[in-house]
Amino acid sequence: VTTPEERRLAELLQGEAELLEPGGSALDAIRSGVRRRRARRRTALSASALGLAVVVGASVALAGGGTTSSLEPAPQASSSASATPSPSAVPSADPDGSTTSVPGTPFFPFTSDEQAADWAAAPGDKAWASDPVQVAQRLVDDLLQLEGVEAGPTSENGFSPLTVGGALVARVQLAQLGTAPERPWVALRVLSADEGRLLEVTSPLPGNTVTGVVRAAGTVVGVDESVRLQLRSAAGELLAEESVMAGSERPWSASLAYTSTSWSLGVLTAMTSSAKDGSVARLVAVPVLRDASPTREVPGPTEAFVGEVDGVVGLYDATDGERLLQVSFPPAGYTDVAPRRAGTKVLWLRLGRECSDRKVIQRDLATDVTATLVADQPLVPVLAASPDGRWTAWALRPGCESGETTVVVQGPDGTREIGFGDGGEVSDLDLNDDGALLAEYAGEDGGSMAFVPPGSRSIAESGFDAEEGCLLFNPAFLDEQVVATEVCDPFDGTTPLRVVTMSVTGERLSETVTQLDSLPRVATADGQVLTQRFEPSGAIGRLVDGRFEAILEQPACRETLEAKGCLTSVDW
């Protein structure tokens, strides 16, 4: 609206419109309409349920009839007693793989016979290691960094009592390490005052291996007890911290995710505090080993897919939808969304409470047990990664809710920014292995889908026109071509969706009428199209010649994928 004539017309139309004030109870009328429509749909669905069950059953039978994946599940990013048995036998392994001469896992101040031998030759500044009481005291002072805890004389079987104001809070199990005549004392674990009945850690057990996160669990005697958990490296660095409420009727559990990889042996402490003065009331400490395996086998893109459930990203088996691996561990107050699979890498967005608090995070399942930060900017919640993982794209909007949207493409040739104009809304992105970008957007300069060639910084005239009365959504590269979902009039879920294949210049090559009746997310890999239908089953599946083949049914997610426990945002 730029000319005086256009401005005057706009003013007159606005003035005329303002004379009309709609009635006040329309929202109730709409809600009634929604209820009536749902009731009609339920009736229709129950009539077709038998037919659907037959189709789904056939799909599942076909999937089950094939060979099962020979690949091992991805590394479990958790620790549990069942996953990694506690090394209870003698000798035990130290973090370097060598053996030690004591039962259990020595974690303070020495961890191996070799270190003990070095100490025997030259105690240096650790001469105090010859005295078990001093070892116990230094453990609480230097490693666990607790105040007001006093270590007492060691019993015959190697336990040193820890007291606070004269009250027993825990006992340190000690042993002499090494084979030299002069052997240092080391701590093996810290037990609650009465053999674990007051406070117990049931997982991890001493010497368990952890990968990316420590999944801790245990029991506590009491009603509403706050159990404080800390994960520290053997050098005393605080790696993760968490508090949980628990009681006699309610065992506690918590996940402590760590990001540091500069440790190989650490200690998990659980403690309760005095309600009176906050001093330590009960204490348990368990040594754990960090799994630093250099590489792991990761299921291929058509064998596993990524998705999000309740703000947590996971890797799922493409034959039965079982979760193979928890990929992301969002801290409290954060939600992880929009996961994208790229080779062995998984990228996702971490949304904080504020629009400006959004991050792009990446984890390489093959090499890194920890996630790394890719970008920390005011992001529009869309993300893309090329299949080979070399290219990544995300969208920035410095004003969060307004202002110019810029898509950042990061790859082997550096970073390039593509402007989508002031007010341009970017709602979906995809990348191919050449670094070309597809974007679904709406902007002042027209177009709803753009193809941006490799190296280009401008939105090309892509010619991705929908048929008359239709709209195109979810563009994705499929080999050398582009696929998108076309929704046609009427836009009320009664018309099947079409998957349209086009050249990158917008030439229509084929179109397939699907069984889908609502807009899915479309993802592609190895010539396959993965999708998710929201009705009637909330299922995840493949589109094969327009036919939906279910991988995972989600009956509880039929009405809304916002329900707890619903898997969504899938990507190959």
Binding site: V1, G15, A17, L19, R31, V34, A442, L519
Partner: protein, 187 residues
């Protein structure tokens, strides 16, 4: 037209200061947000196309009901607005086709008579423009109303009408020429 919906369909986008700010909205929360932000504007838009206030309200309510079933797939509120607008335009077309076939009755006029505050000349001019608009072919009327009343870009208008941006340009241009001709120098 009102356009105050936040772009991300999360509770946080509605300004709720809780830890669950970034959780996706429930369909009813989306409904309420889209109703609050766009209902009045959409009724006015439909009224321009239908020249009938009651029908306009019915059509917009139908659009909300129909689009509600698809909101779980809508990832942001702006897209929800676009769906609604598209649905309103389509339902208006259906309603007009129905009218043409079933009865050739004169559509009920828009609420007429300017308010006391409005100038008499403005009122007269508006009436002439609205009458001239009503005489335009449907696609031209849609393009003019979406561009100049709803203040949409050519791309957004193209989405709402389900046609290409080039066709929007063409319909708008022809519509403006027709209005100019009808109103002579009124604009």
């Amino acid at each position: 037209m009102d356009s105050t919906a936040a772009p991300v369909a999360t509770a946080g986008a509605l300004g709720r200061g809780s830890m669950a700010d970034e959780r996706p909205l429930t369909p009813d929360e989306v409904l309420t947000a889209l109703y609050t932000a766009h209902y009045r504007g959409l009724v006015r838009l439909a009224a321009f196309l239908l020249r009938d206030r009651d029908s306009a309200e019915e059509v917009v309510q139908d659009a909300y009901v129909k689009v509600h079933g698809r909101w779980r797939g809508v990832r942001d509120l702006d897209k929800g607005e676009a769906y609604l607008r598209q649905s309103v335009v389509n339902l208006c077309r259906s309603r007009l086709r129905h009218r043409t076939v079933v009865a050739r009755h004169a559509p009920a006029p828009m609420p007429d008579g300017a308010s006391a505050e409005s100038g008499a000349l403005d009122s007269l001019e508006r009436t002439k423009v609205v009458e001239a608009l009503a005489a335009l072919p449907l696609r031209q009327r849609e393009a003019i109303v979406l561009r100049y009343y709803a203040d949409l870009s050519e791309a957004q208008t193209a989405h709402a009408m389900g046609i290409s941006p080039g066709a929007v340009k063409s319909h708008t241009s022809r519509g403006m020429a027709a209005l100019r001709e009808t109103l002579l120098e009124e604009l």
